[in-house]
């Protein structure tokens, strides 16, 4: 699975996710990636999110929207909301994976509860920051 969240010069956020799904999945199985609110979500007033992981959990716990909702209704920061959903709620339910998220101030969050996640961000020209392991 691959994903991206962007904040443009007009202050607009967009998010996207694309995937082949899960090896050996039954044909017709759909994971969270194409499900708005689970694998992908964007709202200028809160954040944009792209997810990767065990899709069934991300659908049932509406992970991408849940992060935005925690910001909107509980006033959590992006970092706090993303961490609570991925490192606490999902772990309690046995869901493995991670998200990348971005808010309109340009704050970045990339929590994951697996051994690693290919991830990165860029805020300045020619200064891409890339990470793989914990």
């Amino acid at each position: 699975t691959v994903g991206c969240v962007a904040l443009d010069a007009q202050g607009n956020i967009a998010a996207g996710t694309s995937t082949g799904g899960m090896t050996n999945k039954k044909w017709g199985r759909i994971g969270d990636s194409p499900v708005i609110g689970a694998g992908t979500y964007a709202d200028n007033n809160t954040c944009g999110v792209s997810s990767t992981g065990h899709g069934e959990y991300f659908i049932r716990y509406v992970v991408a929207y849940d992060i935005a909702a925690l910001m909107k209704y509980k006033g959590l920061s992006l970092e706090e909301a993303a961490k609570e959903v991925v490192m606490q709620k999902l772990v309690e339910k046995g869901g493995t994976g991670g998200v990348v998220a971005l808010d309109r101030q340009g704050n970045v969050a990339m929590p994951f509860n697996t051994a690693g996640m290919f991830r990165g961000y860029i805020k300045e020209k020619d200064k891409p920051m890339v990470f793989i392991y914990k």
Binding site: V2, G20, G21, T40, M110, G116
Partner: protein, 176 residues
Amino acid sequence: GPITLVIHGGAGTIKKENMTPERELAYREKLQQALNTGYAVLENGGTSLDAVTETIQILEESPLFNAGRGAVFTSDGKNELDASIMNGATGEAGAVAGVTTLKSPILAARTVMEKSPHVMMAREGAEAFAKEQGLEIVDPSYFYDENRHNQLQKLKENQEKDGTAYLDHHPDYKFG
């Protein structure tokens, strides 16, 4: 805020001991290329939607990641692809699911968002709509990757051996 872009290429049992230096470098370089591509769109006044679409297409075209080329296989040996996109300014969204002949699933998702009254379209219907809209159609073999196919075979052998859903024993093992 400042123009910013954040990306991922998948999560799972990605450990240093499982990665050769060459392969790790290949991943880092592809992720950097994707970031630089998306940032250039934003820097030139492009929209966040354009940046997301262009960045994800870089990763879809790389066999390193489980999306587009290099996607994992279903239990019957096919590549079924899914994608979605959302515009934070308007709340508009688009998605495709279970497609097998669309070269860029993220571009198809954006076309559903911008050129149809729907949010999500699946399988043959999504493919017929994308074709009608002029998106590039490829033979399913375009997505084929030897490593991924071997992964599927190995997993099936393991499943026959221990007869349980491999996932139960290895929750962190993201097959993709």
